[in-house]
Every structure is written in C-alpha cells, then in structure tokens.
Symmetry: D3
Subunit: 136 residues, 6 copies
C-alpha cells in the first residue's frame, strides 16, 4: 500500500518547491497539524495525484473554485504561485478570475483579482495589459 | 448604438461624483482593468441605468445583497457612500442591515453594521440613536 | 411589556392576510413550531415592526437578500406575494432580482427570476414586457 | 499501515448498519464511485475515526454544518438517521437545527427543520412537542 | 462598435448548437427575458468571447465554480453539455468535480457529480470506470 | 411575561463573565446597538436559554456552523472563549473544526483552525499535540 503522506508531499513539492510540504504542516500548531497533514495526504496524495487532469488544469479549476467560494485570500495567493509553477500563464490565471465573475458576481471577482494581481507582481510575473473596450 | 462605457461612467459618477469611474478602472493593474471596466459597463451602463427602480431603491437592494453574501467589506463601505449620495438616510441604510439579519444570520449582519456605521461616521453622517427595548 | 407574538402575528397578517400567521406555525410539526414561532416573534414582531423602513422597502431588501443567498425558492415564492401585498409593482420586484445579478451572479439570479415570475403569474399579476436591447 | 477503506467502511456501518458503506459506493456510477470511496476513506476512515469526539458529538456538529451551508437536503436526511443511530435524541437533533438559526438565518433553518422532522417521522421517531411561548 | 447580442448568440450557439441562444431568451417570460439577454450579451458576448482561454478551459472553470457555489443543478446540467461540446472528455469533466471536493466539501461535490453523471448518460456519453483504491 | 433582555444578559454573562453582555451592546454605536441587543435577547434570551442542549453542546454546534459559513473570524474567536467557558476541552473544540472539513472544505477549515488555535493560546489554554499519521 502506498504511503499517501509521502506521495502527497512529493506532489506538493512538485508544485511549490522542495521541502515546502513540511513547512505547511510545521506552520500549524499542535492538533491543527493533523488538519494540515490531511491537506497533504488527501488533497495532494489522493486528488492532485490522480491522472486525468494536468497540474495546470487542476490549478485553473482551483482558482475558479476559490473565487466562487469567496473570502479565501490566503489560498488564492498561494495557488497563484502554484498556478504559475504548474505552467499557467499570467493571462490564463487572470482570465480564469474574470471568467468566474459570471457565476460569483462582481464583488468576489474584483476582490479576488486584486489578490491574484498582487501575488503575481510579488512573484515577479509581468502583468499583461488590459484588452480595453471592444473596437470592432 | 449606445456607448455603454460612457453611459456607465455617467451613471457611476452620478452616484459617486465627477471622475470617480475613471479612478475605479485606474486603481486596477493591467488585465484586471478589464474586469473593472465590465463593472462600469454592465453594472452601471446596463443595470443601474434601467428604469423601474430609483437609485435609492437600487442602493437599498445592493446593501441587502452585500450583507447576505458576507465578507464583502470593501463593497459595503463603498456602497454606504453610494446609498447616502442616492438619498437614503442613515436610518434607512442601517435599518436595511438590521432587516437582513433574519436571512443572513447575526454574525454577517453584525460584521456588516460595524463596517457601515464606521463608513457613515467617516463620511460625517450623524448616526441615529438606538430605539432601545420595546416599552409599550 | 408588549406581547411580541401577537405583535408579530398582526404584522405578518398585515402582509399576508388574516389568519396566515397561525397557519405558518401550524404547518410545522412539534418542536419545529417553536422555530416558526420565533420567525413570527423576531422577524415580524421585532424587525418588520420597526419604524424607519416601509413594508415595501422591507420586501425589496428581502428579495435581494434571498436571491443573494441562493437556494431559497420557498421563501422567494412567499415573499413575492408579500412584496405585491406591500405595494411593490411586478416591475419593482423583477427589477430587484435583475439588479442583484451584479452581486450574486447569473445562475442564482436566473433561477430566482423563474421562481418569482412563476409566483407572479400564479397570483394573477401581469408580467411586464422585456425592455429589449438598448436602441439609443 | 492501516487499510483506510476498510476502517472507513467499519465506522460507516457502525453508524448506518451492516453493509451500508458498500451501498453508498455502488449507488454511484463509474468514476463517481471514486468520490464516494474518498467519502468513506477520508470522512469515515480518517475523520470520524479520530478519538476526541464521540459519534454523537460528531453528528451534532454535522447537523449544524449542513444547516449552515444550506441546500444539502439529501445529506441532512441521511445524517438525521446517523444522529439517531449515534444516540442523539430527537430533541437534541431538532434543537441543534433551532440553535443554528442565529448564524444561518431563518430560511435555511426553516427549510432544514422540515427535512429533519420529515426524516425523523419516516424513521418512526416520535417528534417532541413545541415548548411554546415563554410563560414565566 | 460590435453588436454584443449577435456576438454573444454566435458564441453561445458555437457551444450549444445553432439557434440555442434564441431559445434561452424565449424560455423566459416578459421582463425576465432581459436578464437572459444580459446572460447572452455579457457572459457570451463579452466574457466567453475573450481570447486567452480556450472554450474547453472556460467550461472547466465553469464546472469548478458551479460545484463550489452549490445548489445550481440546472446550470451544472447545461454546462455538462457545453463542456462536452467544447471538447472536454467525460474524464476531464468528472475529474474537475472530484478536484473541487477539496474546496467545496463532500456534500456539494457528491450532489454535483450525480447531476453531471446523469447528464453525461443522458447525452449518450460513456462514463469512465472508477480507478478504485490505490494498489501501488 | 419574562424580560428577555435580562434573561439573555444573564445567559450571556454565564458564558462570558459578569457584565460582558452590556459591553457587547455598548461597543456598537447608535442604531447598531439595537442589532446587538437583539443578539442578546434572541440568541441568548430565547435560543441559548432553551432546555434540550447543554451550553457545551451549543458551543460545539456554534463552532461547526461558523466554520461552515466562512469569513466569520471575530465570532470564531469569541466563541472559542465561550466554548472553553462552557466546559469544552481544547481537544473537543479543535476536533470540531477538523470534523467540519468534510462539509466546508479545506480552505475554510484551515483558516478557522488558525483563528481558534491562536485564540486558545491567547486564553492560556494548552494546545494538545497532533496525533500524527496512523501507525496501526
């Protein structure tokens, strides 16, 4: 039987960089470390490790879900890094936020795009220019 | 065909003051400006510009929706200004928050009424006194 | 001290018709009747009975909050009746749903406007025609 | 290393009756069975199997969370059965729904208490009478 | 200036088939047709027509957002069709639902995967088999 | 007839300490004090004062509901104190948050467990150690 914790750490580190999974658990205190560990085991050892979607597709679905749920700024910030590392372009990440406005409404989408844009800038990623009004 | 961006800016500025719509777009960076522009075009050029509801009625519905969705403090703060400018009294705005407690529960309503009260105070609007317990 | 249950029933019946408050409690079974009674006492005896907003304003805020929360079809249907009885026009009710799309997104708004439209038709209220695309 | 699927099935069957876990997976089709299996492995093999809370406490927390999230009638119905099997009384289950009205608002609590009451009746559990207005 | 309604209808029909956009508006009654028209103009004329994401990527983000919001069965059903037409495989659609369980929780994900699986079956799409427990 | 405000204050102070209920109302300004007062009257005078659940059970249901709703950090912090005062152990409180991850997803549960852990530390409560991976 596979060791899901090791499998999850490997997948997490593939996305975020060597040693990052341990840091995620260690930044929690006491019993809360079990919840972070489940996040590694289940989210990354079980779900992210499934075939059928690429890491880039998974990060795109993640961004859309986080915008829709609302109020999850720390996760949006972290997954912006994950999305870049998975190979999504800044355009693809930002367009995913813009796409979600149809379903989640403007306030959640606008709050999210500020967090994502700031995270991209902090990671040194160039922000693509606005397309501007349709001129056709 | 009407220019929705110009129409939206005019409606937004009618609510918030001359030149404010441009500021809303400019405070975003790059691609995010497109989302802010859609906010002007669709929210203000299409929806707020419809007949059938007064600006004051629209701001009241907006406050109720924002309290119900929860976690949208920046928007609640902004629309408190919009609601005052649209002619709602401080009493009407605060009573709309109190009214929404039935549907959204106490935590969301209490967090919202703090944001709205602080915004009213910041705008120099006098806060009406509590009615207090029913003495009939 | 005021009897909030009687006060709530009177306000509920003012909105929905004589004897309706008793029916609301009686359609629940056993302990659940206490929750329905709190709905009469608190929602109608305390909140709806406050001065500061008209019944029509309250119903408008209610519709906006229900659309934003999503998945509350029975309440949307009931308050469509309440909104009509409080003096809102079909246009004002439907425009409140359309207004809320900005904050709640298209799926919740579209599901809500179907429930509200069906309720208006069931109550024999004429549905106003669409404005159609802007022809300016 | 423990077999989480077997552990989860055992815990699930402890709550719902012999053989029920297999039924939960089999009622899904194809790939969806993996999601149901994760529900057994993670929810029941990992979380429900933790020490620190009794099964009855877990079912109480579950009811409160389901009412708060809204729109989860199938799960509320199922966990009403689970709560009874875990040793909660009908009063404790219904009072948990009533308690949650403070946080989730009246529409979600009222819709939930109808589902829970109907489930209790279907399971042959006697519904406790309402306490009625405070007569002190 | 571009006619957004025509542009939106063309994009909608590209996804759902010739003439479908007109049907979407016509199935609404009166004023509600304006909301459906905004859905065509804004969602499909503005957002879906943007470059930067493929139609398949957009449908994946849509599925994730709808699962996260919860209670949007009619939209999930419709977009399952859209996702197939945009070129996503049944595996990709179902894996997107499974992926979202991390963020939206099991009840919303399980209710969604039933709707999506049933829709796929109704459209004559073969459901891929479960992967089953990890055997490594 | 009972004075619900006095009854609510007594119940609130039983949970939080002498004089705390007055502070809750006084920290609000003007009309917002009415909403805080309703919180004392309805939440504590009506709901928390009902028989059928212990104070400890109520606080457990409250924690679960607050985690599920998301974005309610001030309330989670306050009720962590209430939960300790009602006799719940740190383990029971933290396990309630961990339990809720099944329904509310990882982001809400992880954000909540940080707030609860920090509140427990601030109150001088020892944090129980993680159980760690299953070693059976």
């Amino acid at each position: 039987m596979v060791d899901r914790l090791e499998k999850g750490k490997a997948k997490f580190n593939e996305l975020y960089g060597e040693g990052k999974a341990d840091g995620l658990v260690e930044m929690q205190t006491g019993l809360a470390q079990d919840l972070a560990r489940y996040g590694i085991e289940f989210n990354f050892g079980d779900i992210y490790s499934r075939p059928g979607l690429t890491l880039a597709q998974r990060e795109m679905a993640t961004i859309a879900a986080l915008v829709a749920l609302g109020g999850l700024e720390p996760q949006l910030q972290g997954h912006t890094r994950g999305a870049i590392n998975a190979g999504l372009t800044a355009t693809e990440i930002l367009e995913t936020v813009i796409h979600t406005v149809q379903y989640a409404g403007f306030p959640r989408a606008l709050n999210a795009i500020r967090v994502v844009t700031d995270a991209l800038i902090a990671y040194g990623v160039e922000i693509p220019p606005a397309l501007g009004p349709d001129k056709d």
